[in-house]
């Protein structure tokens, strides 16, 4: 994907804070997965998080919508602090969309029902309106004709696009992507990335764990490199790829770009 084709006109970053993470720590039993993570995400930012496997990058974004609980420090999402208060958690979750590596569509529901379920039950939107919204977003991810099929009848790339549409139906302010293309065949990666690019072009705040460095260069305004549960380096993408500072980053980049 060439950078010139991408419309950056709407990709403006406001000075409003979307996510604020301060001194956040997390353990799995004795294992210290996230160590003193500090990160501020502004509204409209497109952040790509990369790093070797086990570096805690997925865990980090899963903490942002409380799929994982952090044990120390503070996470504030859109002005709401994540604590044990279930009300806050539900509020944050309904405003933060998430796309998973394995899509996690609901196999017993049609594509349309997958997309309307949360708006109807969480947002209490009337069924008809929810269906209209769902069809709008299915058009956007270019699969309106699949609306009445079941997830099992779709290809991986189509399923992932449905998963994106399903998240968008909740009209989220922030989108989290957890390795959205890692489980896809090479031929299908592009269609998912294109969908994500068009989302970025509309000014969506995005945090994306991915190894798609082309995507990072084209869309991200910031690349975060993590290792051993810590943020090792972050920079704007051109500098990050051309001139990495730390040895770990250099090693990582040489390994993923080297072949």
């Amino acid at each position: 994907m060439s950078e010139s084709a991408i419309d950056r006109s709407k990709m403006t970053i406001s000075d409003e804070v979307a996510v604020q993470i301060t001194n956040m720590n997390k353990w799995y039993g004795q294992f210290h997965v996230l160590r003193d993570v500090n990160m501020t995400v502004m509204k409209g930012e497109r952040i790509v998080i990369c790093g070797p496997s086990g570096s805690g990058k997925s865990t980090l974004i899963r903490c942002i919508n409380r799929l994982e609980e952090h044990q120390a420090g503070q996470i504030i999402v859109d002005g709401t602090e994540l604590t044990n208060d279930l009300k806050n958690i539900d509020k944050v979750r309904s405003e933060v969309g998430m796309v998973f590596q394995h899509f996690n569509l609901f196999p017993h529901l049609t594509i349309l029902e997958n997309c309307t379920l949360a708006p109807i039950w969480v947002r209490k939107v009337p069924k008809k309106e929810a269906e209209e919204t769902a069809m709008h977003f299915l058009h956007k991810v270019k699969i309106p004709e699949q609306a009445n099929k079941y997830p099992g009848q779709l290809s991986g790339g189509q399923q992932q696009r449905v998963a994106i549409a399903r998240s968008l139906c909740m009209k989220p302010r922030i989108m989290l992507f957890d390795e959205p293309t890692s489980a896809l065949d090479p031929e299908m990666i592009k269609e998912v990335l294109d969908t994500m690019i068009s989302l970025a072009e509309e000014g969506m705040t995005m945090l994306c764990v991915t190894h798609e460095m082309g995507f990072a260069q084209a869309v991200a305004n910031r690349v975060v490199f993590m290792d051993q549960g810590q943020i090792v380096e972050q920079n704007e993408p051109v500098e990050f790829f051309r001139n990495p500072q730390s040895e770990r980053t250099k090693l990582f980049l040489s390994q993923i770009l080297g072949h």
Partner: protein, 435 residues
Amino acid sequence: MTDQLTFVRNQMLPPQEPPIREAGVVKWLRENLFSGPLNTILSVVGFAIILWLAANIIPWLLHSVWNANSLGECRQIIAATWGEGATGACWAMVRERWHQYLFGFYPMDMYWRPTSAFFLMFVALAPVLYNNLPRKMIWFTAVYPALAFWLLWGGSVWSPVVAMLGFVVMGGVFTLLKDRLGVPLSAGIGFVAAAFWWLVLQGPLASAIHSVLPIGLTSVDSDQFGGFLLSIVIGVTAISASLPMGLLLALGRQSDMLLVRTLSVGFIEFIRGVPLITLLFTASLLLQYFLPPETNFDIILRVIILVTFFAAAYIAEVIRGGLAALPRGQYEAADALGLDYWQAQRLIVMPQALKISIPGIVSSFIGLFKDTTLVAFVGLMDPLKGITQVVRSDINWKGIYWEPYLFAGAIFFLICFGMSRYSMWLERKLKTDHR
């Protein structure tokens, strides 16, 4: 010849028909029955056994006698028609006593009551079993338990009506408190309110209304129930009650709350660790010691409660298997969309877990239904042992052996086979994963 190192396909191959296999009976026989020495021997032995069984059973069935007044008369007719030493089935017993197999000692002039309850049961079950029927029918399903109770046991119509109002009280309290106190707590308070209604208000209220508006049917005592009437009453009630109870136990067993989890695990393990007969004896004997002496706690109701507990413990474990088979991603996706616990359970988790558990759940139901014959051990008249004993104690039918068991067995088979076919149909219908 050297292998080509470069190759370019200029023409893509069109799909072709698969090769037609050589067909024919001989080929089928050779492949399936006589494919080797061992298979040939097994086939021959198998055929011999089938022939031997058929040679014994078919004449017995062919010599059936339908019109006779006693076993002795049956034997005379068989000997007269087919010669001395011939054997034959004496279905005359069924012809004379079928009503006892179906209704036990239920008063004959009131057979219309259990019969109409039986047929109305299908109307009540229909909207539960088939989701393409009008949803309004579910209201009939909701009132059916009270209606069936009244038809079967008779008495004042107001007792079941007031009892059903207890559920209305429970639902009302629950909806009033749900938003303020959360689902589990308000459900608990609703249950307590309903229990108060049933234990304290039920009796006086029902008799008060009855004294003003006396509508009722002749009472029939529980000890007059018997045969398939008894089996179906116990089986259907326990089946419908054990599914929701098993579901709650399965969820309780996975709960993060220590007390709920401990109670669920304790209940399931205790009930599964004890034979059903022990529980039935508990129902018939022990409960009487613990309850206040003047309480008249119906024996059928007691048996139903313990059979329900028994089935619920098994169903809870079957459903737990279904829950374990769901990928974690399903829970995470539900969470990430902002669904709360009960919404996620109802909309995402249970539809899939129950679908996976259908074969196991239906097996439990079939087992439960057949286990209803065990009530013979607490003196109730089940169709297999109880009624057969009654029939054999008649001097005319003394010594009849196979026919009662075959007759009762055939009815059990029909019902259980029906359940099994329904479950297979349901599995096919709900199959949406296209794996």
